[in-house]
Symmetry: C2
Subunit: 248 residues, 2 copies
């Protein structure tokens, strides 16, 4: 049986998968997007294990989530995913988040590279994964989210500082991709996040962060609806950028 | 159909459900124990929603996890749960964690109270939930873990301080029960946790913690294998105690 070019995982908002508003937390949603992507890639023959055997790995570069509304605690939801396009170094994977009726309540898009684990350099995807090009969805599928725009941060003082702890660190020894999301949210005013759902969240990853290193989140608040954020290392290097747009 | 007095949920170690050792993280395991308990309680007719309609809630008081080994990333596992016993104010729910062959790789026990949401006082469980007593497993089921012992902390200086952020807070406005586990682990030496699996983890909850309040974890290290921990508020009140015993 040919693996499907469109894959669906079904979830439910479990205990502690909701945030203080009782809706699915953005970090858990991000995690389930990655789980759905991982399952699909595995079915298509280029999952994490298959790449590891060739001394390669997927590297997660960008994520954009745009939600009309979030599932409530204990509510089921589904995530549909497909590969939208590929360039020399990047594979673009899209997602639709579906309610119990199968209606889209949000969309997401993600950008991935394949690296060689020795050189840590990005590989030409067509050469590294010859079957990948055949796995792109043959017809364009609706994923109506605008292109990613660059966060612009002018703040001089950090809104929040931290040092990654044991539970922040993944098997690579780096701050895990989902924890970046949690730390960015941790830098925003609690009362605002409690009252206004996040309509749009964009994140890009540019440098790895390690256990115990001092990190700081800088926030610029262009208007009441929009926050631009940077995660900076002690030497000023930007490890990640994010943009958060709140619901009106 | 009568709901079963023994309930099983099946899981898999998904992406970011593993820690930096590539094994199921203790915090995610704790979360899945609570999910399994929640599903079973719901089937038995006294789930969160049923209690909420009577202005009551389950309060999680203690958890003890003892593991022989942890599932590896992407490995399936199952959690079996049953109500072991009940006293006037406390319901004791046990768990077995099973590998793909159905063999127990660990056990857990938990203690729960039912509170009135207005008075925040514990209720007599027999009165509050008349059907609960009929849901105790009729025969004792093997759960070979020793009784909980009290952590003894003599440290004067905190090992780690933090202030709960947005992603730490649950729908009650409190630090969520699973985040306590993560913050306790965050207070232990990274290199130790990376090298030695946690054989046994005990936690008791005694006071609620809120967004932004300064919290400190104090650690006493009785011997190389055992850590006693306290989470204290700024006024010295102990919000939670934990004991961590590492594998030999």
């Amino acid at each position: 049986m040919q693996p499907s070019l469109i894959h669906i995982n079904r979830y439910r908002v479990e205990s502690f998968h909701s945030d203080c508003t009782s809706h699915l937390s953005l970090a858990v949603l991000g995690n389930q997007l990655l789980n759905t992507a991982a399952d699909h890639a595995e079915q298509l023959g280029f999952g994490r294990q298959a790449l590891l055997e060739k001394n390669q790995a997927w590297v997660f570069s960008r994520l954009l989530i745009q939600m009309d509304h979030y599932p409530y605690e204990f509510e089921p939801y589904a995530i549909r995913t497909w590969i939208d396009s590929v360039s020399r170094f990047f594979s673009n994977r899209n997602f639709a988040i579906l309610d119990t009726e199968g209606r889209a309540i949000g969309y997401a898009s993600s950008v991935w590279a394949v690296i060689d684990l020795d050189t840590r350099q990005a590989l030409d995807i067509k050469q590294a994964l010859p079957t990948h090009a055949d796995c792109i969805s043959p017809e364009p599928i609706d994923c109506p989210i605008a292109r990613t725009t660059r966060a612009r941060v002018t703040a001089d003082e950090p809104a929040y500082t931290f040092q990654p702890r044991f539970c922040d660190i993944d098997y690579n020894g780096h701050l895990n991709s989902i924890r970046y999301i949690e730390h960015f949210l941790g830098a925003l005013p609690f009362e605002v996040l409690k009252e206004r759902p996040i309509h749009r969240f964009e994140i890009s990853y540019s440098a790895e962060c390690h256990y115990g290193e001092p990190l700081a989140v800088y926030v610029s608040n262009a208007d009441d609806d929009e926050y631009d954020l940077e995660l900076r290392k002690a030497d000023g290097v930007v490890a990640s950028r994010a943009k958060i747009i709140l619901r009106n």
